[in-house]
């Protein structure tokens, strides 16, 4: 069976082609999805890619969240379809309330692009099962508004329920509360991640290939399902 993974293009999406490439390198079939279409063509999973959808105007992800495609994505995510939001995609997921918290301006007030070390703290989600628990990986990070914030109660709950999927190691690049780089919903099918695993899938163009695991994880999950 070929696994079909949809990658949504919003106006201003930038890493959509890169996410498609990562899906392809992982062995799945990337399917381009368009923000104006409610139809997501029976894909098995969806990636919301990085970029500056709607220029990041108002707030990152705030305008995209209301696009027709998101109506379908939100509904199916609630029914268990795996969804990965990377960077801008993570912001869309928070604005959609599929994930708690919000992503705000980096504490440095600068955009930051760097190779970032992470620890995978939950290898049980749909998107991380190919990693070992607590595996350390390096993938690029690039954002201007990547500081994850939530109230104390939410943060405690995320930690208690094992929903912190990845944490920054060595350097907290944006001031995220509790060094949080990525989280999941309670069911583990929806994951939001600030760093960019799709830019660490080829040794030639990234810091390594340690990001590929996100895309192979979903493949394995869907094939085994």
């Amino acid at each position: 069976m070929t696994v079909r993974v949809g990658v949504v293009t919003f106006p201003g999406s930038l890493d959509d082609r890169d996410a498609q490439r990562a899906v392809r390198l992982a062995g799945a079939e990337p399917v381009a999805l368009w923000h104006r279409d409610k139809d997501i063509h029976q894909v098995d999973a969806v990636v919301l890619p990085g970029g500056f959808s709607y220029g990041d105007y108002l707030r990152c992800g705030a305008i995209s969240r209301f696009s027709p495609v998101m109506d379908t994505v939100i509904a199916q995510a609630r029914d268990g379809m795996p969804v990965l939001g990377i960077c801008n995609g993570f912001q869309v997921l928070c604005e959609s309330h599929l994930l708690p918290g919000a992503l705000t301006r980096n504490d440095s007030l600068h955009f930051v692009c760097r190779d970032q070390k992470l620890r995978i703290e939950n290898a049980g989600t749909a998107w991380t099962s190919d990693y070992a628990q607590d595996q350390e990986i390096t993938v690029p990070l690039k954002n201007g508004e990547g500081r994850f914030v939530a109230d104390e109660h939410t943060l405690d709950a995320l930690e208690a329920e094992g929903r912190v999927v990845a944490r920054y190691l060595d350097v907290n690049p944006n001031g995220s509360y509790r060094d949080i780089a990525g989280i999941s919903n309670a069911a583990g099918n929806v994951v939001g991640l600030m760093p960019h695993p799709e830019h660490a899938v080829e040794p030639l163009t990234g810091p390594g290939t340690e990001g590929l695991g996100f895309f192979t994880s979903i493949l394995r999950k869907l094939v085994n399902a």
């Binding site: 106006p11 930038l14 890493d15 890169d18 490439r21 500056f52 955009f111 692009c113 163009t205």
Partner: protein, 754 residues
């Protein structure tokens, strides 16, 4: 203003003596007279607006044209050149059916007034130029010059410029793969913000800016037109700042990178469906430029209904609409049968598109405002036949004195002891010009698009353009205003030589050149001489290296009062590499590899970084240029990369061998043990800036093959050491730990800028 009496063509004919603000618009008396002669009457207000912006220095190249001609006349024959100077950007054949277009432009004056928006719109403008050729933009670079690093105004200008370049480029999704950051007090009131963009297309996708085919429709698409930047780029970049700032202060333009991203995607889709006959971006001089250039380059005339232009501000007059430099707009010529599809694609991308006119079989550019004619001109006289000046130039009287002031050992005290040499190396590595630039470059996305093979800090940026075959291109930009001040002819050649060497060092074969010529006021004969010399030097050198100039940009009037910046030709070289897997990085990564110094080192410290850092000295002659040697060095570096003989290479330039070792060692996290060859002065070895040199790391298994090749080709290659340990050790003189070096090198920018 629109309520005012409309100055129509017939009204102009009836009122020959009406007063007109030609001087305020920057025209000279004789230029105004010439417009009257061309038209056989006084121009209308709208015509005057068009001529004044199009005949400005920025748009007409009236002072520089006579010198730029050489780039065409002396151009080396090159099979690679598909489109040359005169179009929005040159196009180069890189094989496998691919073509690459690239160009560097300046946005100096706007970036001084409003650093963020000035720099941001600089990126926006050059990206549209590349797009207008039919190419998908794939990367940007940003050669920058600022005043003294510790000057308070630098703390205003630099962070704003960097945030603007990042803000716009990141939001467009274009990786930033290189650039330059140089500080010198001469740029205090005139920072240089040059921006380069490179784009990729298939040969058959090349588009040109011309309007032909009577009946074809003129479509304006992109942002609405507003009152911002009226005459901004053109007028602003065509005058000198007085001490109190610019005399005219036109509204600043604000960029909308999101709109530009939509414009890119929409334009590429329109190209893919072959819906476009001709296309032009709107940059300096806005609609005046786009309509007159399209009509001038095409076969017929053009008729435009100006009142159809979508406005952001309903009160704009026809003159203002013609002069507005609102960003993120393009103008396309489309056959009538394809208009509907064109508009559909624009709608898909939420891009406003409006038919504003059509190509006629006449010979005039005619513009109407609510049915009344406000412009009736021969388009060539606006776009391509503006005034040209043979400005007087003369070698300045201080040039001899400057060149006589050579940095000899008698004149400038040189470090001798091991401790002195070590201190000199550390000071140099920590000086803002040589220090680590990641405070700046970490604000730029270098990963987006997933094809970045090399990015800063490397000798050149490298982009993969075909995922199947691994075909790639490399680009480097270089320029050294200090060298050019000492000798503009040689300085321009050194800029080319350095960029050429940087491209070759990464394993790519240099093919073509773009240049941005940043100078002071052309009305000063000394500056004009610098300009003439630099053009002559660059054109001559391109001939020898076989790399034609494909396009570029001139920025004049970079001066405050009587004081001009150092003449600063910035040269970009584009190279091709068949397999990006074969690229050569600059990091020393493998313990035990042998370090070879290629080329000859002489006592050449005129204009050097050492003279600047240690003695704040600028005098003497710049290093000599030997272009045949550059070419040979390049061939060796490319062959060694292709055949796997070297694992690292780094060109030697400012700061000489010392700085090159610092960079290669820190990048790879490995030390080096260096033996100063018998009879060599360690100071000269470390700090001379002789051109035509590089260091390479050779695996021991390849040593014989590599030295045989150098020997057979006659390139001096000296084994000077080995990659080893965690310090740089100059045996018998000093040793400096990488940690100490790293601290010195990395902490400068954070300390200056927070």
């Amino acid at each position: 203003m629109s309520q005012k009496h409309l100055d129509t063509v017939s009204h102009a004919a009836e009122t020959p003596d009406a007063e007109q603000p030609w001087a305020e618009l920057g025209l000279k008396q004789d230029e105004y007279q010439r417009i009257r002669d061309i038209l056989g009457r006084r121009p209308t207000g709208a015509e005057l607006a068009m001529y004044s912006v199009m005949w400005s220095e920025h748009c007409s190249y009236k002072s520089s044209k006579v010198h730029l001609k050489q780039f065409g006349e002396k151009a080396p024959a090159s099979d690679a050149m598909l489109v040359g100077i005169g179009e929005n950007a040159g196009v180069v054949d890189v094989g496998q059916g691919y073509a690459v277009t690239f160009k560097v432009e300046s946005h100096n004056h706007p970036s001084y007034i409003e650093p963020y928006q000035g720099a941001a719109t600089g990126i926006g403008g050059i990206v549209r130029d590349i797009l207008a050729m039919g190419a998908r933009p794939v990367a940007v670079m940003d050669p920058l010059r600022f005043g003294a690093a510790d000057h308070p105004d630098t703390k205003r200008v630099l962070p704003g410029v960097v945030a603007g370049i990042g803000g716009y480029g990141n939001c467009l999704g274009l990786p930033n793969i290189g650039g330059e950051i140089v500080f010198d007090p001469c740029y205090q009131g005139n920072p240089l913000v040059n921006a380069l963009c490179v784009g990729v297309m298939k040969h058959e996708d090349i588009h040109l800016a011309k309007a032909s085919g009577a009946g074809n429709q003129v479509i304006l698409y992109g942002a609405r037109t507003g009152g911002d930047g009226i005459g901004g780029v053109s007028v602003l970049a065509s005058e000198t700042f007085s001490d109190s700032g610019p005399a005219k202060r036109p509204a600043v333009q604000v960029g909308d990178p999101f709109q530009e991203k939509l414009l890119i995607e929409c334009t590429l889709e329109v190209f893919a469906e072959k819906l476009v006959v001709g296309i032009q971006d709107l940059g300096g001089a806005g609609l005046s430029c786009a309509t007159s250039e399209l009509a001038s380059a095409g076969s017929g005339g053009m008729r435009v209904e100006l009142d159809r232009v979508p406005l952001r501000d309903a009160t704009l007059s026809p003159e203002e609409i013609l002069m507005s430099e609102s960003q993120e707009r393009m103008c396309a010529i489309v056959e009538p049968g394809k208009v509907a599809r064109f508009l559909e694609i624009c709608e898909k991308w939420d891009v406003i598109a409006t038919v504003i006119g059509e190509v006629t079989d006449g010979e005039r550019l005619e513009i109407f405002w609510h049915g009344e004619q406000v412009v009736d001109v021969p388009p060539r006289t606006v776009a391509h036949e503006g005034p040209t000046y043979q400005r007087p130039y003369a070698r300045p009287d201080w040039q001899d004195e400057l060149q006589a002031d050579a940095p000899t050992a008698e004149r400038l005290k040189r470090p001798v002891s091991g401790d002195e040499l070590k201190a000199a190396l550390l000071t140099l590595a920590a000086h803002p010009n040589q220090a680590d630039k990641s405070w700046v470059t970490s604000q730029y996305d270098r990963y987006v698009l997933g094809n970045t093979v090399l990015a800063q800090p490397e000798d050149s940026g490298m982009i993969r353009i075909d995922e199947e075959t691994n075909l790639g291109v490399a680009i480097a930009t270089d320029g050294n205003g200090r060298y050019a001040k000492l000798d503009p002819y040689t300085g321009a050649q050194l800029a080319l030589a350095e960029a050429y060497r940087n491209v070759a060092a990464t394993g790519a074969k240099p093919l073509a050149v773009t240049d941005c010529l940043n100078f002071g006021s052309p009305e000063d004969p000394a500056v004009m001489w610098q300009f003439a010399e630099a053009c002559r030097g660059l054109a001559d050198a391109c001939q020898v290296l076989g790399t034609p100039v494909t396009g570029g940009n001139v920025s004049l009037y970079n001066q405050t009062g009587e004081t001009a910046i150092h003449p600063t030709p910035v040269v970009g070289v584009l190279g091709v590499i068949d397999d990006v897997n074969r690229r050569t990085p600059m990091a020393f990564a493998e313990e035990g590899q042998l370090i070879y110094l290629l080329g000859d080192t002489e006592d050449e410290l005129g204009g050097s970084a050492w003279a600047q850092v240690a003695h704040d000295h600028l005098g003497g002659l710049p290093p000599k240029v030997d272009l045949e040697r550059e070419r040979l060095l390049g061939e060796i570096l490319i062959a060694a990369s292709r055949d796997g003989m070297i694992d690292a290479a780094h060109d030697l330039s400012d700061g000489g061998l010392a700085q090159a070792l610092v960079e290669s060692c820190l990048k790879g996290g490995r030390g080096a043990r260096i033996v100063v060859p018998q009879g060599t002065d360690p100071f000269v070895l470390l700090f001379s800036e002789s051109a035509g040199r590089a260091i390479v790391a050779v695996p021991r298994s390849e040593e014989l093959r590599f030295t045989d090749m150098c020997g057979a080709r006659g390139l001096p290659a000296a084994r000077i050491g080995v990659v080893d340990g965690d310090s740089i050790e100059i045996q018998g003189h000093f040793s400096v730990a990488l940690d100490e070096l790293r601290t010195a090198h990395l902490e400068t920018f954070p300390a200056l800028l927070g």
